[in-house]
Amino acid sequence: MPTKIEKDALTGTDTTGHEWDGLKELNTPLPKWWLYVMYATIAFSLVWVILYPAFPIRGATGVTGWIAREAVMQDVAAANERMAPMLNRIREATPQQIAADPDLRAFAMAGGRIAFANNCAGCHGAGGQGAQGGFPSLADDDWIWGGSYDAILQTIRHGIRAGESDEERTSMMPRFVADGVLTVPQVNDVAAYVASLGGSTDDAAAVERGKPLYADNCASCHGENAEGNRDVGAPRLNDRIWLHGGDRHAIARFIANPRMGVMPAWGGRLDPATMNMLAVYVHALGGGEN
């Protein structure tokens, strides 16, 4: 409660008359225009509320009808229009042609990176590193279905075992134990042999027993020397890259009851230009073949 206004001895300024525990407040009036600036901001906000959506209520759109989503869509449309000439060229070209042209390549790498992050990274990892358990690395030099531009594009477009495209890549490895083709000890022996191809040998006798079993049961798809067969998507077994684990037990488990990987066909989902960019990008991750 203001009581008594005094003149402060030191500054010659009036006090407001407020006093708290002996402390008195000087009255140094604010310039009036400052107050008017505040009124102006209030007036501005009122105009804003009328013109633009300001309340989280359905229908409170403001008289201009401006909608943030539409503004974004306009920006996106403008960006698409800017990109259209480049995308048209990429749509018409083959991945090889794109890779050979520095401008197209730079554009495809940038676009491919985004498309990969949006569509592929969920399974194959942000950098195409893949994951154990059926998600192949795209950055290494081992390909199940082929690592040329054409093979990569084919895989992207038609998918693998997804049942979405007539031209999809498909094959099936028998369930050797579940289907009664091999017994469990036999599978263990084959697994020992296969593991030895990748360089780990700890049971020479089992390897010896597994070798003929491999020739009878596996070589037709995976090859005499376990070099694999990309026509049927049979992975190479004589290298250090294992999709489902490379130790003897993991291999045995897989032979007994294989799990076949599935990849969707992107042909119906992505624009051909996007798929071309993806092919160029994936090819450049490290493992691209000619």
Binding site: K4, W33, S137, D142, R240, G286, G288
Partner: protein
């Protein structure tokens, strides 16, 4: 119970209800009087130089060869380049600009500790444009007294004419100011015909009107209110001043007691109010140091003029240190006003001490920043190599058991010539470099093209053969070599491999 009795009951015993007091004050309009003298001349000189630089700089040409803008000072937002005569920086080198701002700030501190608020009084854009606007106002509406009369006068045709003319002239200057601003961000010679035919971009017009509006408002209307209420500098400049700084001061020991020129026993101040009348912020310097004083020194010119006419020594108001003021005051305390008092007071003055801890520190910091910036500029590479190591995956295991790391290399060529360089990988480990799109030029060497004033990007793969023994992390170096084998740029990175046990 009505309000009056309620209020009386709540008031402490014996207390009367407080009178209404204003919490908001009207602005007291300032009518600065024209003045002439050495300080005013110095201010005009600074004003002309600053404004000439500001308005004309965008029109100066500087040949940078074909394909490059030929404007000497240009901030090219679209292409991300800043040009300043022979100097050109890319966005990642914006620290040069930061350094310049730091330099400006420290120079401001140093100047303030030496000479008080010289920046405020002489070179601040607010002061320069306000000075210009006041000059226009004076030319159209007359000097202080005429303007005061005009403002009080009824709105006649003559008053309308003068006021409209003043504001039109202010707006014209403001538009020239806004118009000059946008020229720094666009090629001035290309832009101005487009600007006048309405073909320039929306951003150009936005900034034109923004700077036109702020110039008109701040220099025409707000003026000293900006310095007193908006600007943070007056609030902390007191921390940079000390008793050794040369600041605009009134020698009270000589001037007081003030009174009529012919009166007996009074000091040199004749209370003519000349110093108050010329002050652009409308204060009385005789009240001592105060926040509103911008240190422009116009009161010095005004007072010296009066002192000269009265035949008294000049310098009743002067750039003087507070230390000297105190010394003079001490020496003359017991003396009554007379010429001898003035002499005695002036006699005990010391030469201002410009070399003191504060100024030495500011000078040291200033020199250090200059040295760092000069060093950065001299060591600035025209071709740079950035190495971005792939982090996902950290490494890739190959079919034969080898290990591979991938790197994205970005070669920025800041020169105007596209050239061919050799990229080399150096390492103690038996690594093999491969770049898909570049031709090989020897073991672990590739020929890479650069783009004039542009960026080229390469994906480099470094491979460790199977069985090679190597630590989990090995330092490697990418080096760019010119045709004569000299290093143009080098950047270090690392090669990562799995732990030995997992590297079968």
């Amino acid at each position: 119970m009505n309000d009056v009795t309620a209020r009386a009951k709540l008031s402490p015993a014996g207390g009367s209800p407080p009178p209404d007091q204003p919490l908001y004050a009207n602005r007291q309009k300032v009518y600065p009087k024209a003045v002439s003298g050495p300080v005013r001349r110095a201010k005009w000189a600074v004003l002309v130089v600053c404004l000439a630089l500001y308005y004309l700089l965008p029109w100066i040409r500087w040949d940078r060869g074909p394909g490059a803008p030929d404007q000497a000072v240009l901030v090219d937002m679209t292409h991300g380049r800043l040009y300043f005569f022979f100097f050109e920086i890319w966005p990642q080198e914006v620290y040069f600009l930061t350094g310049l701002l730091i330099l400006g700030a420290i120079a401001l501190f140093a100047a303030t500790s030496l000479f008080g608020r010289v920046w405020c009084g002489f070179a601040c854009p607010q002061t320069v444009w306000t000075d210009l606007f006041m000059w226009v106002e004076r030319k159209i509406q007359g000097d202080r007294n005429e303007r005061m009369r005009l403002d009080k006068a009824p709105w006649t045709a003559m008053k309308w004419r003068k006021k409209v003319l003043t504001h039109a002239a202010w707006l014209a200057i403001a538009m020239a100011t806004g118009g000059a601003w946008i020229m720094y961000f666009n090629d001035a010679i290309e832009l101005w015909p487009k600007f006048f035919t309405g073909q320039a971009g929306a951003g150009v017009y936005l900034f034109f009107w923004l700077f036109t509006g702020t110039t008109y408002l701040l220099a025409g209307w707000a003026r000293e209110q900006v310095c007193t209420y908006m600007c943070p500098w007056p609030r902390f400049q007191a921390a940079m001043l000390d008793e050794n700084s040369l600041v605009v001061s009134y020698r009270a020991w000589r001037g007081e007691p003030r009174g009529k020129a012919k009166a007996e026993g009074i000091g040199d101040c004749v209370d003519c109010m000349a110093c108050v009348n010329v002050c652009p912020t409308g204060i009385d310097i005789r009240d001592g140091q105060q926040l509103e004083c911008i240190g422009c020194g116009l009161c010095i010119d005004a007072c010296d003029d009066i002192m000269g006419k009265l035949g008294r020594p000049k310098g009743l108001i002067a750039f003087e240190t507070l230390k000297n003021i105190a010394a003079s005051e001490g020496a003359t305390r017991s003396m009554s006003p007379c010429a001898a008092r003035t002499e005695a007071g002036m006699g005990v003055r010391h030469v201002p001490n410009f070399i003191r801890a504060r100024t030495i520190i500011y000078a040291g910091v200033l020199a250090a920043v200059v040295a760092v910036m000069l060093g950065a500029w001299l060591l600035r590479q025209e071709v740079t190599l950035a190495v971005l190591r792939d982090r996902a995956p950290l490494y890739v295991r190959l079919a034969d058991g080898g290990v591979r790391n991938a790197y994205t290399l970005k070669i920025a060529n800041k020169t105007r010539d596209a050239g061919t360089l050799t990229l080399a990988l150096e390492s103690h480990a038996p690594l093999t470099l491969s770049i898909q799109e570049a031709p090989e030029a020897g073991p672990n060497r590739f020929t890479v093209n650069t783009r004039a004033d542009g960026l080229t990007e390469w994906r480099a793969l470094a491979t460790l053969p199977p069985g090679a023994r190597m630590r989990e992390s090995t330092e490697i170096t990418f080096r760019l070599l010119d045709a004569r084998g000299r290093t143009v740029a080098r950047t270090d990175s690392v090669f990562l491999a799995p732990h030995e046990e997992h590297r079968r």
